[in-house]
């Protein structure tokens, strides 16, 4: 303590000696709707880099010719464990990452210097089924974070000072938030996780300036609303699931945001007879009013925990000679869906399996409605095996679209099947698990028909022809959010050997790889500061990647892999 005056004196001396311009904070360019709709190549302003959710950077200084010389520019340890999944989001040289526990870290994007760090106090007794956070939203001069205990918090982008906090929901009832908010038209939109705790999902919008709630649209309709009759009479809709935990995409021309929704609850489908709208669906919501303007349900009466929370990727393309404003989604079911978005409707165009699916026996050619094989459908008192398994052909890790190659990239898992034991009747208790299968059965659910088959597949699809252009196959499963760039590259981690890799976007050849401190399950991004292009990603294994690894370790103990935990922001540039 007696050293404090000396320190203070030194600090004051240093402050006085520092030229004023060096201590001036870097100017922060306000984030507008116009900028979000047409982001400058140098910045990565939102979860997927643009409203269409492409995961695409138009920067090309790092490219297929020089990516082999990619080297670490700087790294920053978060000091935390569990899943580090958020993309480094960059605006005007400011970088924002989030961590498990809903912390926000602002960094100088060029140097990695910490500018500020916000640590919300999370209740000590909240259970953390998915300890992660998937990023911030930027709007105006603020940064928005959806916290795991269901608060939406606005922070000053330059200082980290709290502008406002709004309670979105009651965490004690099993609601929690992990998604990056969507910012558009003066509103900040979020939704709750809790498909395993019997939430009633929704998308809710809050005024970006004040935090006041503008609207809340449930993904499970209540009495008197269209779709309510797809639920059994009674209160089942109140605990029907349809969680919302991945950021929606947005079409500024129509003002519609496209959100994916989670599985219905509880899991045994016979306990909630009917289609169960709008679970395992995509819904188009008018951002102004919250009104649902269209939807497509991928799996009516889902029985396999096939959350379809990944928002569709919005691509204007040509299909069978016809221009289509498409909404493309690599489903948890293992089907690749091409839908058409209009101002007031969502139309089915076509779909096909991108991995082995033995449940769906056919699709209605007009509506895309699937028919199911009853022998592959588990339920109350009835176990069943099915492909793909609970974690699907693709879980939440986002796909990417590259307008130069015209290819749609999917981080897929093939022949990763599942088996559930006989389901049991389950009673809803607020805040408790609401699943309906013995829990050790869920743990032991992963099945691989042939242990020597490959599982993970980085796939590239030509949407115009519906043909697979290339696939890079892995012996292990793949949990890899994707980035693609105008440098003809695809970046992906997601394997249990902790590698972060660059692939040739045209042919899938591995061009570069980097052994990260932990497994890479973070969403990668790219940006430019002072003329230098960077590739950024968080390393930090955890959550479902760890869970799936645990399931593989259980069925193939001779190949047991333990991936170390710990979060690090990694930023790369081309070495001289």
């Amino acid at each position: 303590m007696n050293r404090t005056p000396t320190f203070l004196a030194a600090a004051i001396a240093l402050a006085l000696a520092t030229p004023a311009d060096a201590s001036e904070p870097r100017p922060y360019p306000a984030v507008t709707d116009a900028r979000l709709a047409q982001p400058e190549p140098a910045n990565w302003l939102s979860y997927r880099g643009n409203f269409s959710a492409w995961g695409y950077s138009p920067l090309a200084k790092i490219n297929e010719r020089n990516v082999g010389k990619l080297t670490l520019a700087w790294a920053y340890q978060t000091g935390l464990v569990e899943g580090h999944q958020s993309p480094p989001i960059v605006n005007g040289g400011y970088m924002y990452v989030t961590t498990p526990g809903s912390q926000v870290i602002a960094l100088d994007a060029g140097t990695g210097q910490e500018i500020w760090r916000y640590k919300p106090q999370i209740p000590a007794d909240q259970l953390q089924l998915h300890p992660t956070n998937r990023g911030v939203a930027l709007y105006g001069n603020r940064v928005y974070i959806a916290t795991v205990d269901c608060r939406l918090i606005a922070l000053d982008a330059r200082t980290g000072k709290v502008a406002w906090t709004t309670k979105v929901d009651e965490w004690k009832n099993g609601y929690y938030m992990t998604l990056a908010p969507l910012a558009a038209k003066g509103k900040i939109m979020v939704g709750p996780s809790g498909g395993e705790t019997g939430v009633r999902g929704y998308v809710a919008a809050f005024d970006a300036e004040t935090g006041k709630e503008a609207w809340r649209t449930y993904t499970v309709p209540g009495p008197g609303e269209p779709g309510h009759d797809t639920w059994p009479a009674g209160d089942s809709y109140k605990t029907g699931g349809g969680s919302v935990w991945i950021t929606g995409s947005y079409d500024p021309q129509t003002g519609l945001a496209y959100w994916g929704t989670g599985n219905p609850a509880p899991w045994p489908a016979d306990q909630r007879k009917g289609d169960n709208l709008y679970t395992s669906s995509m819904i188009a919501i008018d951002v102004e009013t919250g009104q649902i303007k269209g939807h497509h349900q991928y799996q009516p009466n889902d029985a396999w925990d096939w959350d379809e929370v990944s928002a569709p990727v919005l691509i204007d393309t040509t299909i069978k000679g016809r221009p289509v404003k498409a909404a493309v989604h690599a489903g948890r079911s293992g089907y690749l869906w091409v839908l058409e978005r209009t101002a007031d409707k969502v139309n089915y165009v076509q779909a096909w399996p991108y991995v082995n699916n033995n449940v769906i026996t056919g699709l209605d050619p007009k509506t895309g409605r699937p028919a199911y094989d009853a022998s592959k459908t588990p339920g109350t008192g009835k176990g069943a095996a099915f492909c793909p398994g609970l974690w699907g052909g693709k879980d939440w890790p986002p796909e990417a679209y590259n307008p130069n190659t015209g290819l749609f990239y999917i981080p897929a898992n093939n022949n990763m099947c599942g088996m559930l034991p006989a389901g049991e009747n389950v009673k809803y208790k607020p805040g408790d698990l609401f699943i309906g299968y013995p829990l050790d059965g869920v743990l032991g659910s992963v099945r691989v028909p042939d242990p020597n088959q490959t599982v993970g597949e980085l796939q590239a699809w030509d949407l115009k022809t519906g043909k697979l252009a290339w696939a890079h196959k892995f012996k292990t499963f793949l949990w890899a959010p994707l980035l693609t760039t105008a440098g003809n590259l695809v970046f992906a981690g997601g394997t249990n050997d902790r590698m972060f890799r660059a692939y040739n976007a045209t042919n899938g050849k591995v061009l570069w790889e980097f052994p990260a401190p932990s497994g890479v399950v973070g969403v990668p991004s790219s940006f430019e500061v002072d003329g230098e292009q960077y590739i950024a990603v968080q390393s930090g294994w955890g959550v479902d990647a760890e869970r799936v690894q645990g399931a593989f370790n259980a069925i193939l103990p001779e190949r047991k892999v333990v991936v170390p935990q710990g979060g690090t922001v990694l930023v790369f540039k081309v070495g001289k």
């Binding site: 000590a124 259970l127 953390q128 208790k429 050790d440 645990g550």
Partner: protein, 201 residues
């Protein structure tokens, strides 16, 4: 400021937890407990719902509105654990203000219990904190083949016959043990948790 439950760690029975072997740590914990009591005195009633179990408490099922004390016959061999809250018989109040107060009860073969677990058990029934030491989920599943407790969230496994030692998954430490005894056919808390419940930072 809302008081956050701090569970005083009492001196364990002679044959009990390893924490008794470290006088420095015990002293620190006692000091912390004392401070918690002082800090709490002016802020809350002596017995808040957030408080953890106290010696003499009964145990009631977490979802039992009738608040019937759990008895020896309610906990059956080979069945998944029961999830309970402590019940203050004097105030007739369930201590359910914090999920960290959740307690699991499971019946084991008395001959399978190790030397530290045996004195805390009552006729083969053992009690532990049900708040997973990893991420705070309920430890409420049972893997019969391995005779271990399972946390669904991240698949941590604990051996209840061996002081809830971690046998699998990411949990960093065992579940805190709670000594219990049988009085008039019902389970009664016989001491404090062997360590404070809580999740990894």
């Amino acid at each position: 400021m809302k008081h956050i439950a701090i569970h005083p760690v009492e001196r364990a029975p002679a044959a009990g937890c390893g924490c008794g072997a470290d006088p420095q740590r015990r002293k620190a914990l006692k000091a912390a407990a004392g401070m918690a009591l002082l800090a709490g005195a002016g802020l809350r009633p002596a017995q808040a719902a957030e408080d953890g179990p106290r010696t003499g408490d009964w145990l009631v099922l977490a979802d039992d509105e009738a608040k019937k004390p759990i008895g020896a016959a309610d906990v059956k061999l080979g069945e998944k654990p029961l999830i309970a809250y402590p019940f203050d018989p004097a105030a007739k109040a369930v201590r359910d203000g914090s999920r960290m107060n959740r307690i699991l009860l499971v019946r084991l073969d008395p001959g399978s219990l190790d030397g530290a677990t045996q004195p805390r058990a009552a006729e083969g029934v053992v009690a532990y904190s049900a708040f997973c030491t990893h991420m705070g989920c309920d430890v409420n599943a049972w893997v019969a083949a391995e005779k271990v407790l399972l946390c669904f969230c991240h698949f941590s496994k604990f051996d209840p016959s061996q002081e809830a030692a971690v046998t699998g998954g990411p949990a960093p430490r065992p579940l805190p043990a709670l000594p219990i005894k049988l009085e008039d056919g019902k389970f009664v808390v016989a001491g404090a948790f062997s360590a404070p419940p809580g999740k990894a930072a």
